[in-house]
Amino acid sequence: MLRDYLENRLKEKKILLMTHIVLGYPTFDDAYKIIESMVEAGVDLMELQIPFSEPIADGPVILQANQKSLSGGSTVSQCFEFAHKVVERFNIPFLFMSYYNILYKYGVSQFVRDAAETGIQGFIVPDLPPEEGEEYLIAAENHVTSPIFIFSPTTSDDRMKYLASHGKGFIYCVARKGVTGAGTDFSDHLNSYLKRSRQATELPLALGFGVKSKSDVDFLKGKVDIAVIGSETIRLVDREGVGAVSEFIKNLNTD
């Protein structure tokens, strides 16, 4: 189970690292090499985003990666094949991240079942609140996999508890308002939000949106369990190529 894995890892590390890639971006071969470098550099788990044409929660960097992947011809079935390959090869948990229409068109139960059989351990679907997710939640339960829900700074305490009651694995806390990839001010104003999040659930907490540097990760130590690096590695690959990933992650990952 995802949660057990995370809790065991946390006995050895102060904070875990989750990274994110868009499948098929820049190409499936490059995506494979990026994963290889990330795992080797000590990443603890990864989000594999299945590209969607209308990613409303994503900012410009991930949006463009989605579009370029799709205009390169990426399909959902290629994403499944790719996921199968990386799950076989690398010994960390992989999650699928995508928007609900990808699951809906595939058939929600079938999507969850096929992903679980592929070895995918959880799902992040940012436009699917639990209220709309009955079939998804039942399928996740049946196939012993983790639906991961999201807290935001605007989420009330009661709603946090409600979301946590449906979530498994961990809770993904977004650091601020806005979309992925913009800057976040990592300072003490985050503390009360993270404290509220901690009080609402026993699940491990991940924090993402705007995490870019070792100092951001260091700031989060002791406050959350997982730091999420999203847009920043895509920017790095765009700028410096796949080869730059390993050093970037190793640097984030030093105690």
Binding site: S53, I56, A57, P126, I150, T154
Partner: protein, 409 residues
Amino acid sequence: MIDRGYYGGFGGAFLPEILVTTFDELVDYFNDVKNDPVFWREYEEVMSSYSCRPTPITYAENLTNHFNGPKIYIKREDLNHTGAHKANNVMGQGLLVKRMKKSRVIAETGAGQHGVATATMAAKFGFDCTIYMGEVDVERQRPNVFWMEQLGAEVIPVKEGTRILKDAINEAFRDWVTNMDTTHYVLGTACGPHPFPEMVSYFQSIIGKEAREQILKTEGKLPKRIYACVGGGSNAMGIFSGFFNDRDVELVGVEAGGKGLDSKMHAVRLSSEDASVGVAQGYKTFFLQNKDGQMRETHSVAAGLDYVGVSPILSDLKEKGRVRFEAATDREVIEALSLTIKKEGVIPALESSHAFARAFKEAPQMSKQDMILINQSGRGDKDIFTIADAVSDPKWKEFITKKAEKYNA
């Protein structure tokens, strides 16, 4: 989440968590005003003193004689301030924004009519205003961009995706998730997450309320058929809703057939096999999408109909058989537009001309005892560049060329 707004299997609120609180607040405010008769009176008062409500119905005698069929009436939403039914929704939401004490409004726009209406409302009520518009639409609707900017709005051309209406909606959502404390998103059509389909239809229902009363007063009976164009579906919901309980009145929604169904270059969601049910932009409805669920490119000569989804309420009415959906091609639309201008001296927008085109196709088969009503959702002045190209007017080309030479000198 307070309430999710389903119409049969369509609608819902597929929201990123960051917006749930904002939507709960909006649902609360909307429920308050819906149950407050004072609000509706205030709304009617604004619409009569600032816009041109009630807009008349016009008997199109020459068109009636031309087709030798049913009596043709036109509901004149083009006579609203800013030239389209969009004002109805925008002024309603503007009054709501005042109640919510927000200081900034944002909107998407396709044809630019909703953008102009929103910028106008923002000027009147003193709100800051940002309009998102696909780059392709900025190109084809320059006059409206000009007016939005004159009205003090910032117009942001959207360069992502297919660079039309749906992409503008995505960008508006991205702005909203960042600025919701100060900002209200004035969604322009009866789509999107709950409560937008219901709220936009509620404000647009003024069209159908008036039209029913007017036609009964003039003719002493109800029309046999009512035609409205369908992009997102707000003008159609507006006029149709006045007649939902009149089972003998057939309601006909006309979608953008573009270059024809076979060309795949169209925006036909409800009357073609190319669309299927999906979830995007926060709601469930029929979308033009591929088998993976990726949205397809759409095409229409009318920017305001060039949209990949459709009101969930209309999807439900289609399934229930209460509304019949048809498509009109770009070519049929231009012909209908020219005929209407020449015969009646009114200039429907390219969007509205879809409703005319379908009505003209059916009129010759109908009895002279019958009567039909067409919703002219907007006026066509804004389309002068597109229409001039479509009719290939040599004098216009000469004018533009000379004008360009002057700017280049």
